[in-house]
Symmetry: C2
Subunit: 113 residues, 2 copies
């Protein structure tokens, strides 16, 4: 659901790909690429949702997938897009990618706090 801030994920387990990045200066086609990536992700098999935030220091995008295979397939798609368009160094000064399996989750309404 576009514009929905939280990913509507099912009961765990599922896979989270945590992408943390520092941008380079200037756009260099980044905004268009970023939107294209998100649009493409929604059409991928096994896609569950995406959550994203960026401020002056750092950007964090977490995409959610039914399993590791779906996350890997998405990685191949992004690799192709990036290769077709621009070297990743044009957009990112540095980044980290972490692939994780979500074991449990909760929200404000179901908080254990």
């Amino acid at each position: 659901m576009p514009g929905m801030p939280f990913a509507d994920t099912p009961r765990p387990p599922y896979v989270a790909v945590i992408f943390t990045s520092i941008r380079t200066e200037g756009d260099h086609g980044y905004a268009a690429m970023s939107q294209a990536m998100e649009d493409r992700a929604r059409d991928q098999p096994g896609y569950l949702g995406i959550e994203s935030a960026r401020d002056a220091g750092l950007g964090i995008t977490v995409s959610y997938w039914v399993d590791e295979a779906a996350a890997r397939a998405w990685k191949q798609v992004t690799a192709h897009l990036v290769a077709q368009r621009r070297g990743r160094s044009a957009w990112y000064a540095d980044y980290r990618v972490r692939i994780a399996v979500v074991q449990r989750d909760y929200g404000l309404d179901t908080s254990e706090l």
Copy 2:
């Protein structure tokens, strides 16, 4: 290391706590609480690092821990702090917490892309 944008995490596996939130309007002591929480986290046993970004739509904070027990211990500390200071509803319109085990990771210099 304060001010370092990326968490200096070890080889997987380790635990990521993904906290995604929508703020309420106004500060209500949030900035001070947020800083106090981060300072306190650094002193917790099993703390590995934290990464955080917030824009108009969403905030994402990912804290990293050596294991699930360390992440749970931290949750008790935050629960106390929140209880002492303010109901969580004063700060957050809504949030999600996901506890995940990182299986693999890489960066710009070690990319498989």
